[in-house]
Amino acid sequence: MTETPILEIRGLSKAFGPVKALSDVRFELKQGEIHALCGENGAGKSTLMNMIAGVLQPDHGEILIDGVAVSIPSPAAAQRLGIALVHQEIALCQDATVAENIYMAAINGRRAPLMNFHRLYADAQKVMDLLAPIPVRTRVADLSISNQQLVEIAKALTLDCKVLMLDEPTAALTEGEAQRLFAIVRGLKDRGISVVYISHRMAEIFSLCDRVTVFRDGHYVATDPIAKSSPDDVVRKMVGREITQLYPDKLAPGQPGRLLLSVENLSDGKRFADVKLQLRAGEILGIGGLIGAGRSEIAQTICGLRPASSGTVELDGTAVRIRNYSDAVKAGLVYLSEDRKGSGVFLDMPIAANVSALDLGKLTGSLGLLDRKAEDRQATDLTKRLGVRMAGIDAAVSTLSGGNQQKVAIAKQLSIDPKVIIMDEPTRGIDVGAKVEIHRLLRQLAGKGVGIVVISSELPELIGLCDRVMVVREGRIAGELGADELGEEAIIMLASGVQNSSNQEKQAQNVA
């Protein structure tokens, strides 16, 4: 390989507090290639993209553009170097028009004091039409999510870039839109633009890309030409490591007890349909699937945090009618939010007040006054049991580490003696030590008869912790894996739909 790569990463590391997101990774993008970057959630793909795009700064290592080491202190600097990133999350000004969003960078750099709307709309429409005929005078807020994603991509196309990075661009697109996007990406490649393409969908990667690099747990694993690789090979490289010691023992076969939670026919009329779920005492049920598949929506609907259009919920053998979250709490069904800071804890309030938030009634005397002693007792008890490390129960939750904040959130759930806890990403953003503690805690709770459902995007967690895993794909239950079938490949295949295609291939082969 004599040709200088347009983008090269050498020995790059990045840590967020105690969590190492990337250690000593490398990556190489050749002129005019489409290069897939694969890895599980948390493997460090997005972190790398954010560093190349100037959003984050590396702790160690080098980024080279055309063989020259550069520092990229800001997104504007990345733009000047010809690097454009389309984020996984949509970051558009919702109240501005499509055209204003597409040319935001250009408008920002514009010297003339007045806007030339006529030209703005005309130019923007030209770019937009490459992808989809979205009228550019529309307000972004009035577009569907998939159209917003297309606007985001159109915005990157205007940047006259040498390197375009697409972070799961098809996650919100329909098949037709995705196909149009692929055609455009191929067109860019023909014009000599180099593309980094992040996706979980093997089919896309293998039809679109030239090479594939795999990351695992923040480490570089391998780079292969697509022609010499296979979906199975990539999936195998994404997974496969020793995780057994980290997790508590599982339930012995044949042990699960009575039916604790039974959900039938649950639909919300929008994001998911026809969900059936059963949880027995003693077991931990995992729910897997890609981000956006509808896992959180299902959990929130079961708990009355979102409206259901149909379906029944039985708790401990009796049908319960849950219209809102207070109903669920009264019935003993609680939900732990995936967004710990946004909706899990009250950051600026004391730990004790956080623990008691779920059921103030039992801490309230006859005069409507809060029994502060009982509140303190409860908080002291629960935080001790969960091993929360803190200055005291009067300390604000914001003074705790992520793991301990999460334990406070769990203490809040335990304060009502719940029958079933549904936990959404219970260990997201938590260091390994606290993670192990939370896993042991969940196993112990399950052992004592509390129903535990764990939603997780981390495959090792689903496999190591859960007795059974349901996989959700596009709002439907794609399948269920028992203890003996649990494996990362099996989950990825159910979640991304690869299984179907390989089954079809097998069938096709059988027919032939």
Binding site: P18, N324, Y325, S326, A328, Y335, S337, D339, G342, S343, G344, F346, L347, D348, M349, P350, A353, A357, L358, D359, L360, G361, L363, T364, G368, L369, L370, D381, L382, K384, R385, G387, R389, M390, A391, G392, D394, A395, A396, S398, T399, L400, S401, G403, N404, K412, L414, D417, P418, K419, D431, G433, A434, E437, L441, Q444, L445, K448, G449, V450
Partner: protein, 343 residues
């Protein structure tokens, strides 16, 4: 076995913490202490001002001057109580000045129409509560924000005052002495106005610290989403706090009527800004989630001491607003600085 027992067995199986997981960032600062720091700071500033003033003016350290200062902010202080609770829940009410006036005008008009002043006053407070309920409706059901809703209410209610009075003050010198005593009389030298103020402050300060219902106000203001995810009906909480704020403004209006023996349709214009400033100087956050009534009253006291000092020092009244504004800016800047240091 119940989950509670499950938890207990967990205690025995206490998990050993890996050394690395012990956070280095734990700070021994808590909010109660931060709040009391703020209150202590205000007290120090107020005392320092008083001492300095006692040298500058022989009239400052007299019971008469203190009584005048207390009287001057007692009635507004009742409104501050409601505003502070509303700020804690994450709201704001620009209409309090208009509502104070409306309560006064409605009660006065009803009295002039022949109703006895006590019943008239109760109705005045009642309609104030209804204005709060209307704002609460627009905030929680329609989904507008507190700022815009109360801005509209401020203008509408002021308009109503002018409509009812046809723009001229109602003269209420015929009010019976027993009623006027609320605003003008005193008990063993202590004006009733101050007594009412102290009672209202004591009750709500206690409730805010101790009552379950008011704890929900803090939850809602601190993180509305997390409060919803804890089963708290945050819309209900916001609705009732909005009603409470207007009701207390209505109560203040009736006391003003008793004190002045008149109902002026332009009374209370601009009052809301003074009240919000006092609450914010006292530690209430416009982002919700924090604030104390004691602090807000200290904020009010500080503004009052400053005003009184300026008068005694013969500073032109035209300077007063400017200086008050600077104090507000300083208080908010300090607050911002403390918060930034904390996070």
């Amino acid at each position: 076995m119940s989950p509670r027992e499950a938890g207990e067995t967990l205690m025995q199986a206490e998990i050993k913490a890996p050394e690395t997981a012990i956070e280095k960032h734990t700070r021994r600062i808590n909010f109660a202490r931060l709040a009391s720091m703020r209150e202590a700071g205000l007290i120090v500033i107020i005392l320092a001002l008083c001492i300095a003033m006692s040298f500058a003016s022989p009239h400052f350290l007299t019971w008469g001057n203190f009584r005048a200062m207390l009287m001057s902010f007692s009635i507004e202080g009742i409104v501050v109580v409601g505003m502070t609770i509303l700020l804690i829940v994450g709201g704001i009410d620009l209409s309090v000045g208009s509502v104070v006036c409306f309560s006064m005008v409605v009660s006065g008009a009803l009295f002039l129409a022949g109703l006895d002043p006590w019943t008239a006053s109760l109705i005045g407070i009642g309609v104030s509560a209804l204005i709060g309920a209307a704002m609460g409706f627009f905030v929680t059901v329609v989904g507008l924000n507190h700022f815009i809703t109360s801005l509209a209410a401020m203008v509408i209610v002021r308009g109503l005052c002018l409509v009812i009075t046809k723009g001229t003050p109602l003269s209420l010198f015929t009010l019976p002495p027993a009623f006027k005593a609320i605003g003008q009389g005193s008990f063993h030298g202590l004006p009733y106005v101050i007594i009412i103020f102290v009672v209202v402050v004591a009750i709500f300060d206690f409730l805010l610290r101790r009552a379950t219902a008011f704890r929900k106000v803090f939850y809602t203001g601190s993180n509305e989403k997390a409060a919803q995810f804890s089963g708290i009906k945050t819309k209900q909480v916001k609705f009732w706090v909005t009603v409470l704020c207007s009701t207390l403004a209505g109560l203040a209006g009736v006391i003003y009527m008793a004190r002045f023996g008149a109902a002026t349709p332009t009374f209370g214009a601009g009052m809301e800004l003074n009240i919000i400033a006092a609450a914010v100087i006292g530690g209430a956050s416009l982002n919700g989630g924090s604030g104390t009534i004691f602090g807000a009253i200290l904020g009010m006291a500080l503004l009052s001491v400053v005003t009184s000092s300026l008068i005694l020092l013969d500073v032109s009244v035209y300077w007063q607003d400017m200086i008050k504004g600077c104090i507000l800016l300083a208080a908010v800047s300090i607050d911002h600085f403390l918060h930034r240091k904390k996070s």
